[in-house]
């Protein structure tokens, strides 16, 4: 515990502007989805959020560089980031849970398994199988085929696992104050993140154009896109975070023992990596 040096910031514009920006984005998104207009409003919201985040983090970086943060503040950030990642984990848990439920219960029951075979009256010809290529109702077109896990998904798995290793090397280098080494390995990590995103983009293109895997393609398409989609968004965010950290490394920020910004982005990146391993196993392989 510290002796009264805990830094309590004075007033700040960023929280309220951030809330308003989020509100603008949500209203814009709603108007866009419901009334098919208002994309500009949503864009304004997104840009404002990015702007506010940039200014907010600039304040935090300045305060940190100014030596205002003691070890107790450091622990606050650690608890905060740790619990934030736990909340993200639970977000993905909802989608994994949906996938498991559908595969274990919903589809076998639709196929007439168990004593509650009511749906057998609705769709008597339906045969339970996974991946679900032909959904119960003829009005829903299932995917034509699904991806082999041993092609692009395997490549992506290797890329992401490798990127976790390169990031750890960069972190170790920072702790030894070998800043050039740190910069290079971190840049490599960012590059691998970009590769992953590009390959995922190629896979989405293939999904829509050659595999018939779309959002509308029944529960397979729905679970596939919600899991890989939110994961992809997290990779994009993680890559942006790492790129910002790279810029800070180049500007000479961080010291060998005081670099929680760096560590937090590592935690986030490893989390994204772990989620991908889960995805690879449960969405692609099994």
């Amino acid at each position: 515990m510290s002796g009264g040096s805990y830094y309590v910031p004075t007033t700040s514009w960023w929280p309220i502007l951030g809330s308003l920006a989020l509100g603008v984005m949500m209203v814009g998104a709603g108007v866009k989805l419901v009334y098919d207009t208002g994309a500009l409003l949503m864009l304004l919201g997104v840009v404002s959020i990015i702007g506010v985040m940039g200014l907010w983090f600039r304040d935090v970086v300045r305060e940190s560089m100014g030596g205002l943060y003691d070890s107790q503040m450091d622990r606050s950030f650690r608890w905060g980031m740790g619990w934030f990642i736990f909340s993200e984990l639970m977000f993905f848990a909802a989608f994994f849970g949906a996938l498991f439920y559908v595969r274990t219960f919903a589809i076998p029951w639709l196929g007439g398994e168990g004593e509650k075979g009511v749906s057998a009256l609705l769709w008597p010809d339906f045969v339970a199988h996974w991946p679900l290529l032909s959904p119960p109702d003829a009005s829903v077109l299932g995917p034509d085929q699904v991806f082999s896990p041993w092609q692009l998904p395997l490549v992506n798995t290797l890329i992401l696992v490798t990127s976790s290793i390169t990031l750890t090397v960069a972190h170790e280098a920072l702790k030894l104050d070998e800043r050039i080494t740190c910069r290079n390995w971190l840049a490599g990590t960012v590059l691998l993140g970009c590769c992953f995103i590009i390959i995922q983009g190629v896979e989405y293109y293939e999904a829509y154009n050659h595999y018939g895997i779309t959002l509308e393609a029944g529960i397979f398409g729905a679970t596939f896109f919600i899991l890989t989609g939110f994961h992809g968004v997290h990779v994009i965010i993680g890559t942006i975070i790492l790129a910002c950290i790279l810029v800070r490394i180049c500007k000479g920020h961080f010291s060998t023992d005081h670099h929680f910004g760096f560590e937090a982005s590592c935690w986030y990146w490893h989390f994204v990596d772990v989620v991908w391993v889960g995805l690879f196993i449960f969405v692609y392989v099994l």
Binding site: Q72, S76, A94, G114, P136, V140, G218, I219
Partner: protein
């Protein structure tokens, strides 16, 4: 134990520290007027903002309830269209849960946790302000759906698919986005509270020295972080089903509407504990104070709270006994639900035992706390009845369920919030609340609550379905009584506002230790608490809990 405890001062330096603090901060020249409230990072100001917001929302949600009760005053359709009736029941539930009860507890947490653990502020003060200001944005958006084409959400606060997807009004997308914002607010607020409790305690204060309000909030915050993202996930799937043609909750594409219910209640059941655990903490602070005894079984209270929280993850499908679960699931969820009665029973036992041979006085906070113990227990027992799967087949979606959850939420959560407000008002304002008016508020409330909700047990057991604007003639008497009670309860809440306003403006001066038997750290700082407290951490002397 002696009936009268000498005022204890766990820390000696409090007044000087406060004086230093004011001197330190004189040069900050913080903005005045409205700007001060918009830009603040101070936990007390943010706490006040939360509490004021929640009080306003309590009245908005209350007006929706009164519209419902006015329509149900007599059989037949007289005042509003069924379509609007559905919007009112839905919005009443959503506003009360997400905009009244939850922010009220967060407001109390903001105000009291730093004071109770001897911290200078919340761990992440700017994030704290962000968490608050998301709420007005979220609920302005939510309330605005009432004015959109097709009306607002009309599918009940549980928004079951496909009512909330295939058959929902166009405004549902806005409802989802508003709930997303509120969810972000809850998660960030909870992260802040966890970080504060784990990292900002005064030197010497161990976990098992923390006041129970802090303990219960720590566990509540864990629940929030664990389940609000699941809510975010499930409403995202709704959004996709509505706008992007996915089949999560549509059996035609291989999905399942029951999947919605599983995901919703995996969030929803811990959510109901989120709304009651901090109430347990408040009551566990008030009863020892006014019984002038230590809390009986402090450690068992902590373990019981943790046990309730863990069990809350294993009982969600007791809301779904009639959807066609396999028999094994019905049995598992029936027994796991009944198991919750054990730690809850421990709590009630401890409160009653704390009262046993105490030197009890009946100030307004104590009245509400005692009413809480009795009436919450009634709600707990009706919950136990509902937990019995075969009996629930009969009770499901009747007014019995409505009676049950209103007993645990109104004389449960809301009475505890009011008890907490009366208990801590002297600390916030420096004045005692007006005794006579507060007593009047209490007696009106307790009569109103029971008049409103007790007859619902009978109407429900006799088969009256919930969420229906019209009903069979045999339910007329019960509904008439309920409606009269609801308006009586609603109007008597104006007394509450009056007491608060009077208390802010003046009244009998309160000393630092406003209540004779109060022991926790917050009573060692002056009343009203200065804007900045504990800037130098106090040295905590273990004088009450634990060994």
């Amino acid at each position: 134990m002696a009936p009268k405890l000498p005022p204890q001062h766990p820390l000696q330096h409090s007044t000087t520290a406060a004086a230093d603090g004011q001197a330190d901060h004189a040069h900050h020249a913080s903005p005045k007027g409205i700007m001060r409230w918009l830009l603040t990072t101070n936990h007390k100001e943010i706490g006040s903002l939360y509490l004021i917001f929640s009080l306003i929302m309590f009245f908005i949600g209350g007006i929706f309830a009164l519209v419902v009760r006015a329509e149900l005053f007599q059989p037949g359709l007289q005042l509003i269209e069924p379509e609007f009736f559905n919007q009112m029941t839905t919005m009443h539930g959503l506003i009360m849960v997400f905009a009244a009860v939850m922010p009220a507890f967060t407001g109390l947490a903001n105000w009291m946790i730093p004071l109770q653990i001897g911290a200078p502020d919340m761990a992440l003060p700017r994030l704290n302000n962000f968490s608050f200001w998301l709420l007005p944005v979220a609920f302005t958006l939510l309330l605005s759906t009432l004015f959109m084409p097709g009306g607002g959400p009309n599918f009940g606060w549980t928004f079951y698919a496909p009512l909330s997807t295939t058959y929902a009004p166009p405004s549902t997308t806005f409802f989802i986005l508003a709930l997303h914002i509120a969810g972000v607010s809850s998660i960030l607020g909870a992260i802040n509270i966890v970080a504060t409790i784990l990292n900002m305690r005064a030197p010497g204060m161990r976990m098992m020295d923390m006041p129970l309000f802090v303990w219960t909030w720590l566990i509540t915050a864990f629940l929030l972080i664990a389940v609000m993202p699941v809510l975010a996930g499930v409403i995202t799937m709704m959004l996709m089903d509505i706008n992007f043609g996915t089949s999560f909750f549509d059996a035609a594409g291989g999905g399942d509407p029951v999947l919605f219910q599983h995901l919703f209640w995996f969030f929803g059941h811990p959510e109901v504990y989120i709304m009651i655990l901090p109430a347990f903490g408040i009551v566990s602070a008030i009863i020892p104070t006014f019984a002038r005894k230590r809390l009986f079984g402090y450690a068992s209270m902590v373990y019981a709270t943790a046990a309730i929280a863990l069990l809350s993850f294993l009982v969600w499908a007791h809301h779904m006994f009639v959807v066609g679960l396999p028999l094994a699931a019905e049995l598992f969820f029936m027994y796991s639900t009944m198991l919750i009665a054990v730690p809850t029973g421990v709590k009630v036992f401890n409160w009653v035992t704390t009262l046993f041979r105490g030197s009890i006085s009946f100030e307004p906070p104590m009245l509400f706390a005692l009413a809480f113990v009795v009436l919450f227990t009634i709600g707990g027992f009706s919950g136990l009845m509902l937990a019995i799967a075969p009996a629930d087949f009969q009770y499901h979606d009747t007014y019995f369920v409505v009676a049950h959850f209103h007993y645990v939420l109104v004389p449960g959560a809301i009475f505890a919030i009011m008890a907490g407000v009366y208990y801590w008002l002297p600390k916030w304002t420096g004045h005692y609340p007006h005794e006579r008016l507060a007593q009047c508020h209490f007696w009106c409330s307790i009569v109103g609550v029971n008049l409103t909700f007790f007859p619902m047990h009978f109407a429900g057991l006799a088969g009256m379905p919930r969420r229906i604007p019209d009903y069979a003639l045999q339910f007329a008497d019960f509904n008439l009584v309920s409606s009269i009670g609801a308006f009586f309860f609603g109007i008597s809440q104006l007394i509450f506002v009056l007491v608060i306003v009077l208390c802010v403006r003046g009244g009998r001066k309160a000393p630092a230790q406003a209540w004779e038997g109060a022991e926790d750290l917050e009573w060692s700082v002056p009343s009203p608490a200065p804007l900045h407290t504990f800037e130098t951490p106090p040295v905590f002397h273990r004088s009450h809990h634990g060994d």
